[in-house]
């Protein structure tokens, strides 16, 4: 399914390909230019199947967010190709792609309602349809009592719900989430995970979740892609084998423990590398 791009061989047809890959990355790299150019990502080959829930884990600084940025079209790849629904993606966000960021991206000057309606208004959707979709998304994310509230009056978790609702109303077919629950406490994260699963089932969208939390990846996804230290490549992809109907109670399942353990054994060495390289940098900066 996913190969180490360094091999350079032509990708073989896989199960996902036959189901129809929704997004395809081939030999994708990203180098941040400059005097001290940083090779942040790849080469990466990746197929994301229609309706699949894919999680991506990796050590900090391995290029997970860079991967999301190029796939979303927020930044162009330095090399390689990306296609979404058969069309190339190169530095512009295609229609049908929604992104939720780790940082609070809610608009503090707008009410929850107007935050959620923002994209639809921009897209020129008619007022009645906006109301219908906004009401639905707000209800779905449990924000019904806060429609007139401003983001500053909400907790971090609630504000992230606003951002998810804002993405949801656009009816994206591919939802990319960049550590969306990174700033939340553990219990809230588990519950938000449930919400995300509900959203995924309800919308039939394809989901790619970037996370540093192994348990989150193991609990939520159909497959977990494990990335190496920078420049990030896929070391392995594990299939979780969870049923589509699932929720955070999976954490009590013995298979969950096995899976998380497996993820950690794959990642431990890479994480050490990432920490080591960072300490090396600090030392150099000190001298």
């Amino acid at each position: 399914m996913m190969r180490d791009g360094a091999s350079g061989s032509a990708p073989a047809t896989t199960d996902q390909d036959r189901r129809g890959a929704h997004a395809v990355l081939r030999g994708v790299t990203r180098v941040y230019p400059g005097a001290m150019a940083v090779h942040a990502l790849g080469p990466v080959d990746l197929d994301i199947g229609h309706g699949e829930f894919l999680a991506v884990v990796g050590p900090s600084g391995c290029g997970k967010s860079t991967l999301l940025d190029v796939l979303a079209g927020l930044n162009p790849p330095t090399d390689g190709t990306i296609t979404f629904e058969g069309n190339p993606v190169h530095g512009t966000v295609p229609d049908g792609v929604g992104v939720v960021f780790q940082e609070d991206a809610s608009f503090p000057w707008l009410t929850v309602h107007d935050n959620v309606a923002f994209g639809l208004r921009r897209a020129g959707v008619d007022a009645a349809e906006i109301e219908r979709r906004v009401t639905y998304a707000i209800g779905f994310m449990g924000l019904k009592d806060f429609t007139k509230a401003y983001p500053a009056q909400l907790s971090g978790g609630m504000r992230q719900r606003v951002c998810i609702a804002r993405t949801l109303v656009m009816q994206p077919r591919l939802i990319l989430l960049d550590e969306p629950f990174g700033a939340l406490d553990q219990q809230t994260r588990l519950l938000m995970g449930d919400e995300l699963l509900r959203l995924w089932r309800e919308t039939n969208a394809t989901v790619m979740l970037i996370t540093h939390a192994l348990d989150e990846a193991a609990m939520l996804s159909d497959r977990v892609g494990v990335m190496s230290a920078r420049p990030g490549r896929f070391i392995d992809v594990l299939t979780t084998g969870w049923p589509r109907e699932r929720d955070s109670r999976i954490v009590a399942d013995s298979a969950f423990g096995t899976l998380t353990g497996k993820l950690w054994s794959l990642l431990r060495g890479e994480s050490l590398k990432a920490i080591g390289s960072r300490e090396g940098l600090t030392q150099r900066a000190d001298t």
Partner: protein, 253 residues
């Protein structure tokens, strides 16, 4: 009573108390009547001046000059701020100059401006603009610095044009800082223009105060001083209330 209301009332009490104290000191002649007249007498005289209409032209002249300088400063300051923000190298060169900008005594240039433009309102507008623009530039830079990067990414997701990104995301996000710029620009425009009128001018409130002073017309001088103070305070209070309404939404509950 809420905490904020208590603070508000004590502020009013302080001002009213000071005015009353001044009144008592003047009435008991502890303060020499030739030096200062009681606030109540200032108010009476001010009413007479306003009712007679003798100052109407000066008032209009000063306020229209301030208004022109204010609008000009805000527009130019916003433009320069946005431009400098987009050019990091220029920014690095300008930053120390901006930081020390208000250490320059601009009024030394006022005679030069009169020589250039003549004795009319243009040198006054120029001094007001020179005074107020930098405050707007600094506030604009501050505001743009604090626009979260994630908002720029969000704009890309909605495939927004640069113009609509600025109008719908950047400006609202920077609004609290821009508002500070507006307040400062108004204050500086007032200071620059009234001081300019004071130094040399053919009319306006600053000129009228200076004229009254030179003619030993204490009553008129104090009445006009009171007028300027009251107007500036009221304007600032209005802007402050507007700003509070804006900030209230964005303050953490």
């Amino acid at each position: 009573m809420t905490r904020a209301a208590k603070v508000g009332w004590s502020r009013i009490a302080l001002i009213v108390g000071s005015v009353l104290l001044l009144e008592v000191l003047c009435r008991t002649k502890i303060i020499n009547p030739l030096t200062m007249i009681p606030p109540s007498a200032m108010a009476v005289k001010l009413y007479e001046i306003l009712a007679s209409g003798q100052m109407t032209n000066d008032i209009i002249q000063t306020f229209s000059t301030v208004a022109i300088a204010f609008v000009f400063s805000v527009t130019v300051g916003l433009g320069i701020g946005a431009l400098v923000h987009a050019l990091p190298r220029v920014r690095r060169a300008l930053d120390p100059l901006l930081a020390s900008y208000y250490s320059i005594p601009f009024f030394v240039f006022y005679p030069l401006l009169i020589a250039l433009f003549g004795l009319n309102t243009i040198p006054l507008i120029a001094i007001g603009v020179v005074f107020a623009t930098a405050a707007m530039v600094i506030s604009t830079l501050n505001g743009l610095d604090r626009v979260p990067r994630v908002l720029v990414k969000t704009a890309k997701i909605y495939r927004m044009s640069p113009l609509s990104t600025v109008m719908l995301l950047t400006l609202p996000s920077a609004a609290p800082y821009l508002f500070t710029g507006l307040k400062l620009a108004l204050a500086y425009a007032f200071i620059g223009i009234i001081a300019g009128e004071f130094i040399l001018s053919g009319g306006g409130l600053g000129f009228s105060i200076a004229y009254a002073y030179q003619n030993f017309d204490n009553d008129t001088m104090y009445a006009l001083m009171m007028f300027v103070l009251v107007v500036v305070t009221v304007m600032n209070a209005i802007l402050h209330m507007w700003e509070q309404r804006l900030l209230k939404r964005r303050a953490r509950a």
